[in-house]
């Protein structure tokens, strides 16, 4: 190791100091560590990736009471890793989902104030037919407003509209001291900026105020295109950017060589009323995955078959037409509990952003590394990001973001390490809301903003009362 002088800093960290991360997580089938009084296994919680850890969730309509003395809030648990999981020392999170009242809505400006547990699903159900839509929407509607602020979510319109945090007017929070404060650009600005993208670690978000956007119709005009390789993809995204509010790409990340990074590029905008159906979009019937699939189901052959099929399903090179907003924004929401297809070992999502400065080659280098390591993924999403948000720890920055789902196998931590190494070299960073395996030293190397953010956090929480399993794993919090 010591002789390896040419390697970058992270590679020279001696092996033994890198503590293994995987064994810390308990698996659904592993025997419970300890049994509670009545003999049933202790309660466990997980993020969307189904990597379980001990913990329980307490729910109440009364969020103010619920957050008294709480260490962490959890919304709908759609972060993939351990962002919404409590620390082992205090295995209880405050679940916000029952606190979902709309407190104020201004029909002229679209300004809305609601409790943090209100879901985007509910918001869309109520407001889409009235032609109002959230300024920024992530890829699932099963998220709460509190979660959207805490992760500072971004969506298909990031290149034009930035993150959700850009559109938040104010937050009402219970801070670590127990006090309830309001923060915004004008008031407690420091807390406001640290909370946007702050993973719920700066205080408990009780209420969120932001502005909905008026849309011409509740239907989407979508044009899609089959793309040959990664370079065309990045070019296509960049070219579509100025004209299309929503752009995103799906990549077949198994194919190698000349067709590496082939996929489908989707561009969309709200349809003009004269093009859109006169009826509001109907509630779409959803499928449910009935049980946990065996782990082999999502092996390489299945993924390869799916990817090839999906690519060639787009028969003509160009397609266009009216789409149901759910099909455009939330294709995966069509299947309830789709995380069960990854089987008992669960899965993780790896999402990183590579800055513009590292050039177009960065995405190609990333895919080369991924395919050489044999990483197979159903879902690989590519998106060009716009300007960095005002949130102190907000994930996106100008460049290309790539997100892929990875079934957890014994060698997954090594794969994540290798990908992280490349991302550090390219001066990119990873998204905490998706992360389950990144090492603290790697995250620190990616994130020069971590220290200033931690300083603000300490000012508002000097005794370090608020923490999560993730903050202990990655951000250096004490147990």
């Amino acid at each position: 190791m010591a002789a390896d002088e040419g390697a970058v800093a992270v590679e020279t960290v001696p092996g033994p100091t890198r503590r293994p991360i995987l064994p810390k997580m308990t698996r659904p089938n592993s025997p419970p560590a300890a049994s509670s009084r009545n003999g049933s296994p202790p309660p466990r919680l997980s993020g969307w990736g189904r990597l379980f850890q001990p913990g329980r969730q307490v729910l109440s309509e009364d969020l103010e009471r619920l957050t008294e003395g709480a260490v962490l809030c959890r919304g709908l648990g759609r972060s993939y890793g351990d962002s919404s999981l409590p620390p082992a020392s205090h295995p209880e999170v405050a679940g916000t989902t029952l606190a979902d009242r709309i407190l104020d809505f201004d029909v002229t400006s679209g300004r809305i104030r609601a409790e943090a547990g209100l879901s985007l699903f509910e918001l869309n159900r109520l407001f889409l037919r009235k032609r109002w839509f959230t300024p920024v929407s992530p890829g699932t509607q099963f998220v709460t407003l509190g979660g959207m602020v805490a992760a500072d979510v971004h969506g298909k319109n990031h290149h034009q509209k930035g993150c959700f945090g850009e559109h938040v007017r104010s937050l009402r929070m219970r801070i670590a001291s127990g006090e309830i404060v309001t923060c915004s650009e004008e008031e407690n600005r420091e807390l406001f900026l640290a909370t946007i993208g702050g993973m719920g670690l700066t205080g408990h978000i009780l209420e969120v105020e932001f502005a909905l956007e008026k849309i011409p119709s509740p239907w989407i005009w979508c044009e899609s295109e089959r793309i040959r390789d990664i370079d065309d993809f990045i070019r296509g995204l960049k070219e579509a950017g100025p004209d299309w509010p929503y752009t995103v790409g799906w990549i077949d990340c198994i194919s190698r060589g000349s067709s590496m990074g082939r996929g489908i590029l989707q561009k969309g905008r709200w349809a003009h009323p004269y093009l859109a159906p006169s009826k509001p979009p109907a509630f779409k019937k959803r499928f449910t995955v009935p049980f946990e699939f065996p782990s082999w189901v999502l092996g390489r052959p299945t993924v390869q078959a799916f990817n090839t099929l999906y690519y060639w399903k787009h028969v003509s090179r160009f397609q266009k037409g009216i789409l149901h907003p759910d099909s455009f924004f939330y294709p995966l929401d069509m299947v309830n509990h789709w995380n069960l297809i990854y089987g008992k070992h669960g899965f993780t999502q790896y999402q990183c952003v590579m800055p513009e400065s590292s050039g177009r080659g960065a995405a190609r280098r990333f895919l080369e590394l991924l395919t050489s390591k044999g990483g197979a993924s159903f879902l690989c999403v590519i998106k060009d990001c716009g300007a960095e948000g005002r949130g102190m720890l907000s994930f996106p920055k100008p460049g290309i973001s790539i997100a892929l789902d990875i079934a957890v196998r014994p060698d997954t931590p090594q794969l994540i390490d290798a990908l992280n190494e490349l991302v550090i070299r390219e001066e990119g960073r990873v998204y905490l809301a998706k992360d389950a395996f990144t090492r603290p030293e790697d995250f620190a190397a990616m994130e020069p903003r971590l220290a200033p953010w931690n300083q603000v956090r300490r000012r508002w929480d000097p005794e370090q009362r608020l923490k999560s399993a993730q903050s202990i794993r990655v951000l250096g919090d004490s147990e």
Partner: protein, 246 residues
């Protein structure tokens, strides 16, 4: 429909209130806390099909002396209500109720005595105007005497019998009585309990209850599978019930 909801600020009552305003009904909220009521009323107004107002009044099942005033206020605001939904009630695990006899007394009084007193008040009012609908949330816990819900179950058993009797006697006169028996529903009330199979959501219950209100069904098990679960449990002989732990 012009509906009064007691307990519409929380859990299943909140979901029922939302389902009703979304289909355009007029709703009047009764609850214990004015600030909570106000927020819930605002929420309902923003969800309503039109820009309906949702008036409110204080009413606490622990204080029967306030029932008349609360129902008067509802009558005035709605111009004579035709439907009353009661979802309010107290819950405690058997352990907690045994540890705290005062809480057990309160629970028994609220869930049975005071709920029945409230229903009687509503019954008189509705019969005077030629009828209406009284929909009360009881529980599947009242179907059999069971080990984990000896006290809570008995309060709900009494309530279920009262509602059944009322329905038999007054349906001819135009008063429709609906007894809702929710199985395990994931709300703040059941928090901390391990959800059994067929655990439902408040929204599921609300959809079912709204349908029952339109059809005037006398008895509603919700979520659906609980009808069959309870059918089996009702048939179990005593010696089996004594052996099993549920």
């Amino acid at each position: 429909m012009k509906t009064v909801i007691l307990g519409g600020t929380r859990g299943m009552g909140r979901a029922v209130a939302r389902a009703l305003v979304e289909r355009g009904d007029s709703v009047f909220l009764l609850g214990r806390q004015s600030s909570d009521l106000e927020k819930c009323a605002k929420d309902l107004e923003h969800r309503s099909a039109g820009q309906a107002q949702v008036p409110t009044a204080i009413c606490d099942l622990e204080d029967p002396s306030g029932f008349d005033a609360a129902l008067d206020a509802a009558d005035e605001a709605l111009g004579g209500f035709d439907t009353v939904v009661i979802t309010a009630g107290l819950f405690g695990t058997q352990e907690k109720l045994e540890e705290d006899p005062e809480f057990a007394r309160r629970m028994l009084t609220v869930n049975f005595t005071n709920t029945v007193v409230f229903c009687e008040n509503v019954r008189r009012r509705l019969l005077e105007r030629g009828g209406g609908t009284l929909c009360v949330f009881s529980s599947v816990a009242g179907e059999r005497g069971r080990k984990p819900v000896v006290l809570y179950g008995s309060s709900k058993a009494g309530l279920s019998r009262y509602l059944e009797g009322l329905d038999h006697r007054d349906r001819e006169k135009g008063l429709v009585t609906i007894c809702v028996k929710p199985g395990f529903v994931k709300t703040g009330m059941t928090e901390g309990l391990e959800p059994p199979p067929f655990a439902g959501t408040p929204e599921q219950v609300a959809t079912r209850v709204v349908r029952a209100l339109s059809r005037g069904e006398p008895e509603v098990y919700t979520p659906g599978p609980w009808r069959f679960v309870m059918m089996v449990i009702r048939c179990l002989p005593r010696f089996v019930m004594r052996k099993v732990g549920f």
